[in-house]
Symmetry: C2
Subunit: 325 residues, 2 copies
């Protein structure tokens, strides 16, 4: 007599690969994170060894969740991840150089369908399915972390572009001839200013240029980071406040340009820098409005993601799985 298998709800595996660490977990259809953990990316100079460890780490979770048969597939978010080809291409922050057929390698190891996209696109999908962008057909997700990433949704769909690489808003030029970007060799990109790295550089520049007294002057230059600038600003330090004003000015100008491109209902901000709250958001809103032509003014919401940062990346990656036909 054949055993009838109970009809169990399908689950998705979400994996977010960052330059330092990789987060992974198992998610159900409504966004509950059933299991999650993390491991080092940086320690693996070979991608094969990385995938072996990932498989070893995930296998017990998969068993506990009901086995591989319950998994609909794996969603991968990774810097420079290409949705069409399933490859990672020339990712400056990852240990593996050149073009890596990541989706194929993971598929072969796990024997499950795999979908890859870049980490910010995955985050945008996560916001659309479980976060601040639920019900929106047109929005832009901006991640303000060590770098600046972005995912753009228009007509209810992620924009991948003809080659799968669309949505690199962190690399758009905002100040022509401006600050040099170590990773790209370009000058004046948004990422050079509106990232944690950018805030650090702005701080060092302002400390050198201005004579304003500041508690930031007591911190050794190599220990200056956006968290310390935030703390100083919260204690009323004028220079620290000026740093967020300046960052918001450039971010706001950039957001105005993005609005005039795709006229989103909202821009959703995510990542470490958003912890600065109104210190950053107030000047950002103000300068966005200042640079918008009339037809766009006072229409576009700037929202901060309310997904838990540690979970959001996994949720976003897992959201890719539900798009598998």
């Amino acid at each position: 007599m054949p055993r009838t298998k109970p009809s169990l709800e399908q689950l998705a595996i979400g994996i977010d690969i960052g330059g330092t660490g990789t987060k992974f977990g198992i998610v159900d259809r409504v966004g509950n994170l059933l299991f999650s953990s993390e491991m080092s990316t940086r320690n693996h100079s070979e991608v094969e060894g990385f995938i072996d460890e990932l498989h070893a780490n995930l296998s017990p979770f998969i068993e506990q969740a009901g086995g591989v048969g319950r998994m609909k597939g794996i969603g991968l978010g990774a810097p420079n991840g290409n949705y069409y080809s399933g490859t990672i291409e020339y990712a400056p922050n990852l240990p593996w150089k050149g073009i890596i057929p990541l989706a194929k390698l993971v598929e072969n190891k796990f024997k499950l369908p795999v979908v890859l996209t870049n980490d910010a696109n995955a985050a945008a999908l996560g916001e659309m399915m479980y976060g601040a962008a639920q019900g929106m057909n047109d929005f832009i997700m901006i991640t303000l972390g060590t770098g600046v990433g972005s995912g753009i949704v228009a007509n209810g769909k992620l924009i991948y572009g003809h080659d799968g690489f669309a949505g690199e808003l962190g690399h758009t030029i905002i100040i022509p001839g401006g600050r040099f970007h170590q990773g790209t060799g370009k000058k004046g990109s948004l990422e050079s200013y509106a990232s944690a790295t950018g805030v650090r550089l702005t701080t060092l520049e302002l400390l050198a240029k201005s004579k304003t007294p500041s508690s930031l002057r007591d911190i050794p230059a190599d220990q200056v980071d956006s968290k310390k600038v935030y703390d100083a600003a919260m204690e009323g330090d004028d220079l620290a406040k000026e740093i967020f004003e300046y960052t918001g000015k450039i971010l706001g100008m950039a957001l105005a340009n993005f609005v005039m491109f795709s006229s989103p209902e909202a821009i959703i901000l995510f990542g470490g820098l958003t912890k600065a709250g109104d210190l950053l958001l107030k000047p950002t809103r103000e300068h966005m409005e200042d640079n918008l032509i009339q037809v766009f003014q006072n229409k576009v919401k700037i929202l901060v993601s309310h997904l838990k940062e540690s979970d959001a990346a996994i949720l976003g990656a897992s959201a890719l799985v539900w798009e598998i036909k």
Copy 2:
């Protein structure tokens, strides 16, 4: 005995409303322009009088083409035209101020379904159906005329945004704090530089600032226009060539930003300024590539529309009709 009506192919009416003149015509499914003509926009201070004349002008064409029964509908392209609401909103170049329910007014007069969008979106649809963008799912159309317009196609669809106004790339800020734009009151927008108006202003600025000998110095300031700069450049005038270099530098930088947004297969340029050919295109290509991060380099075609300029606007507007369900 009932007469059986011959099954005649449906036709579309295309109307392109510009600040000075309005072009209109009747187009078949494959883009043949069966009839076309034009009339003044500017002479009509009241939109009702404008629509009356438009109807009077089009009626004989409609009759000749087989009557109103053969018409599937009317496509309207107009500055600040809103696809969702069918209204023109605060169009600075049109004689009618505020919010005009244009689609409704035209529908009531012609008793035909009407679709409205802005002129550059219509041009993009025209390129996709009949022009350089045939078969493309991801491209950007930029019109370089008196102003700079744009239409963006991603995932095979025009991006209208949440409010119907997406694709105002001419108003994106390229040079923060740069040239003042009379119409918008904003500084440093693409349109302030990469339009016929912008080329004229660049010329006047350079003539004042530089000491380079130039035949352009013999032209009275109020008669300087982009055509005269082109003629001078073709005769080897160094200052005139510098003007196109500068225009191409700014346009190229802007195009790089647009590429990093939606990663199009091609950017299609259209309008008077494209007549400058390689004088403008060479520096534009060069500076676009210079500002692109590696993953986008040497991938994106810059094409000049090969549709006849006088027909393209009508074809584009008519293309809207085939989307009517």
